[in-house]
Symmetry: C2
Subunit: 287 residues, 2 copies
């Protein structure tokens, strides 16, 4: 059904990337700069993105139909928002042969793992979540060094374990640091390590906006704290559709901590504020 | 009483910097790299900081007594935490001649302006607040480009207006962008633009720490959101000793916004979450 000139543990000879935004576009750019460059086929639902990727030589081909893009691919990377990723994994199950390895870069892994199991590709799907990105979106926000040094969580069913090392090697080839984790543990961690900071930034920006503070009036600290507030709501909507109890617990704890700080300041309890700051400083220094 | 070879509107020939931490140390480094380098005399209460500044040629002299450091200075820059800055302005009033211009870099300006008025130097004090810095502290955290492109708020009593342009030129010489503002307006703005983001970072870090998330498990967004949590509590203690009603209002609003987001997620109101994210994105893009 498909020809595989490379041994199953060698590098992937042909890589199809479905989605050419900041994540998929950056992956194409990074792969295209490798000495042992695979054949890279890119696809995006947006014609202008396909053209942009082709014009920068980030891809070898950019057909307008995704089925054409994945034909003959050894690895298909789904680089789309979460809901679209689930749909594509389902569709790929029907049209790709058993030799083809599937991966995705969605920032939650339980929903994708569930679909992979349901459509019978859990033995050839190795999910990935690169902890990097951009508050920008689209191919214009892509860059060849996006994955350099980035942690990439990988997730796989027991039956897909033989493919994990090959996918890990793939991610290492673009400079990333893959680490295997259980899907449930990953999603619990992300609720706190990623989704909570995102919403904290939105909450802070909404308050600053309400008090008529402009982004230009912020120093570097305030700018860092509101950078995520510029993120794309469409991508996050999918994620919050799977909002975990951990995220709700984290938000409740944050609302409580903020109210407590206000209370301490009102009472002039600077000792307690100092202790809080010293504790968070120790935490941030890994003490 | 003192000799002033330069005209009063020319550059300052001799600059004394009291405090050689991240702010004062960076100023000394920046000045020492100028083609028209003034004579730079540095002082710190910490001997090791004086030695470090002298060893890097950031200063021409680093006497152990601050009175010695300010003798003959055309400009004295107080680069200390807020309470120490107020004390030094008071002490400088007694020992520096009327020709000497005084400035400081404390991040609140009303308390310093009040002391300057009380001790009779409001006609020669032009306060400054550079909106830059480092979560690190000490001379080791200083760098020559810290002020490059940074906004510097300047504050002056009507009687000190003749000195404002000269102090602004001084800040421009190290790459900063000075803007005159009323002390009260400055402090109100900082409560929201600087102090609120700082405490938001502390609150978020305290929650992550409580849920056993480590800094290494954060992506770039989470790292940005907790960078300020590593700030020095001693510097901030002084600032929170003057906590303004705006900061308390901001914290209350943040606690409310965070609780509201949790509530929306609990109810699965993704439309409202999307609207919130779109609004903060518009704000961050200056729309």
């Amino acid at each position: 059904m498909s020809s595989h000139p490379m041994p199953p543990d060698g590098p992937f000879a042909t890589v199809a990337i479905l989605g050419l935004g900041a994540m998929g576009g950056s992956l194409a750019r990074a792969l295209s700069g490798l000495e042992a460059r695979p054949r890279i086929v890119g696809w995006s639902p947006v014609g202008a993105e396909r053209d942009a990727a082709a014009n920068t030589n980030a891809v070898d081909a950019a057909p307008s139909a995704w089925r054409e893009a994945v034909a003959g691919a050894d690895l298909v990377v789904v680089a789309a928002p979460l809901a679209a990723s689930c749909e594509l994994i389902e569709a790929l199950a029907a049209v790709t042969p058993a030799e083809t390895t599937l991966t995705d870069v969605a920032s939650l892994k339980v929903p994708v793992a569930r679909v992979a199991a349901e459509v019978g590709v859990q033995d050839r799907w190795v999910g990935a979540h690169p902890m990097t990105g951009s508050e920008g979106s689209g191919f214009a926000a892509s860059r060849s060094d996006l994955y350099q040094g980035a942690r990439v969580w990988t997730v796989a069913h027991a039956s897909a374990k033989p493919r994990v090392e090959r996918v890990s090697t793939f991610w290492r080839s673009v400079g990333a640091r893959p680490t295997l984790i259980a899907a449930e543990d990953h999603d619990r961690l992300m609720a706190l390590a990623s989704h909570l900071p995102q919403l904290t930034s939105n909450a802070l920006a909404s308050v600053l906006s309400r008090f008529d503070v402009t982004p230009e009036e912020l120093g570097p600290g305030g700018s860092d704290m509101t950078r995520l507030a510029g993120s794309n709501s469409a991508m996050w909507r999918d994620i919050f559709d799977h909002a975990s109890p951990e995220l709700l617990r984290g938000l409740d704890a944050l609302a409580g901590a903020t109210a407590r700080i206000a209370d301490l300041l009102r009472r002039g309890d600077l000792e307690a504020i100092t202790r809080l700051m010293d504790r968070t400083r120790e935490w941030s220094q890994g003490a």
